[in-house]
């Protein structure tokens, strides 16, 4: 059997696929999010050191994971669009950037609300927080550069290259709590095991999955708008309006 690998690489076919898939991802995000918040707010026990305030972890850590993961995926789409000169990959990179910037902002915001009661300050200039702030500016730079040109393809290529250059920031964020001795606590979840209660871990993983599904749904919805903007003059796009 011959598989048509590139059938959905065409914007017109992917437009329909994205429109069909996006609602399902939003439904999954809602179910997983509700389950994760239930586990996090009602099932998980109170933390021995921090009390109830630790429960912000169920938003903070998943949002931070997604902020880095979405940047990585965005840079991968950028690399694909530069090497294979595909239109759809560049559009996906553009569609991911606002969601990634939103999660970066949420991670910083919830972090400062967590820092106030536990560290006694909204903001410290430690390595992880500063590198996460740099990530937010990288997202803003990506969005600004992608929209700074008359020719959208030119913006696609320049922004993809910027995303690849900015990729060096990701290991700095991830390992910052290991490399520097800072106020920000190290990670409790590792590939080799965890120092957390099982219920806490499940709550965090469920919310992370929910954010993941939301990111897919949001970027698919956004890529549909980008496809329509770019392909507005084509026959298939015009036939949608009639």
């Amino acid at each position: 059997m011959k598989i048509a690998w590139f059938y959905f690489a065409s914007p017109s076919t992917f437009y329909r696929l994205a429109g069909w898939l996006a609602p399902w991802f939003f439904v999954l995000a809602a179910i997983l999010g509700a389950a994760g918040l239930y586990v996090g707010l009602f099932v998980a026990p109170t933390d021995a050191q921090q009390g109830e305030v630790y429960r912000i972890i169920f938003v903070h850590v998943p949002a931070s994971w997604m902020s880095m993961f979405i940047y990585f995926v965005m840079a991968c789409y950028g690399a694909v669009s530069l090497t294979f000169n595909t239109r759809l990959a560049a559009m996906m990179a553009r569609a991911l950037a606002p969601t990634g910037a939103m999660f970066t902002f949420v991670a910083l915001w919830t972090g400062s609300f967590w820092g106030r009661p536990t560290w006694g300050t909204y903001w410290v200039w430690d390595a992880r927080i500063t590198s996460e702030l740099v990530l937010l500016f990288l997202y803003f730079g990506f969005i600004a550069l992608a929209n700074a040109f008359e020719d959208p393809r030119r913006g696609d290529r320049a922004a993809a290259l910027l995303a690849l250059i900015g990729l060096v920031n990701l290991p700095i964020i991830y390992f910052s709590v290991v490399w520097w001795n800072t106020l920000h606590q190290g990670s409790s979840v590792k590939f080799t095991g965890t120092t957390m209660q099982v219920e806490m871990l499940w709550g965090m993983l469920l919310v992370a999955l929910s954010f993941w599904m939301y990111s897919i749904g949001a970027s698919l919805t956004r890529v549909r708008a980008i496809i329509l903007e770019r392909e507005g003059r084509t026959h298939w796009a015009r036939s949608l309006a009639t």
């Binding site: 990288l138 600004a144 700074a148």
Partner: protein
Amino acid sequence: MNVAAAPLAPAQPEGSFGAGFAWAFARDMKLAVRHPGETLLVVAFFVLVASLFPLGIGAEPQLLQRVGPGVIWVCALLAAFLSLPGMFASDYADGSLEQMTLSPHPMVGWTAGKIAAHWFASGLPLTVLSPLLGLQYGLDGATLAALAAALLLGTPVLSLLGAACTALTLGARGGGMLLALLALPLFVPVLVFGAGAAEAQASGLTAAPHLSILGAGLILAVMGLPPAVCAAVRIAMD
């Protein structure tokens, strides 16, 4: 002799990295020498901004010693950033960049030459001047040496990162602010370790770890960024 009209293609048809580097370096240095105003403006800006801080935050010696390395580094960052448009943007505007892409030399050669010329005209004068400014802030000899060494290792990285960012924004709308949004966040690690070197020395520790990390960053930037600059110039030329 008119510099802009100098023959771009060399006598031999085979291009090489070294010949392209030497040609672009000599051309941009000649331009910098013929327009000394631009280079002097960068240096004047550096000195002026560094002199404004003691007036703004108060002239207590302890305070100045504490903030001195950081202030000088931020000034170096801004001065390197302000001189970026001279690297590619003016050549892009008058079409000479397009002519250079037609030269037989590999692009990585002559772009590296332009980056090196940018560092000679902006980073090197700042490094040489930094001990003088450090004296204004009351830094002691060892701290001045650490500061100058950190600037010597860090400012080439600024030129390389800035070259990639300014090449990406060629022909973009909202040039200056967009370039700031792209370049300044990428400059942050250089600022952290550069200022950290002098501060470690001032607080009685050794600057060696910071200088080692800056040196490692310089090696990485020298190897990784010129291809990225070439890719950005090619995107601009499409």
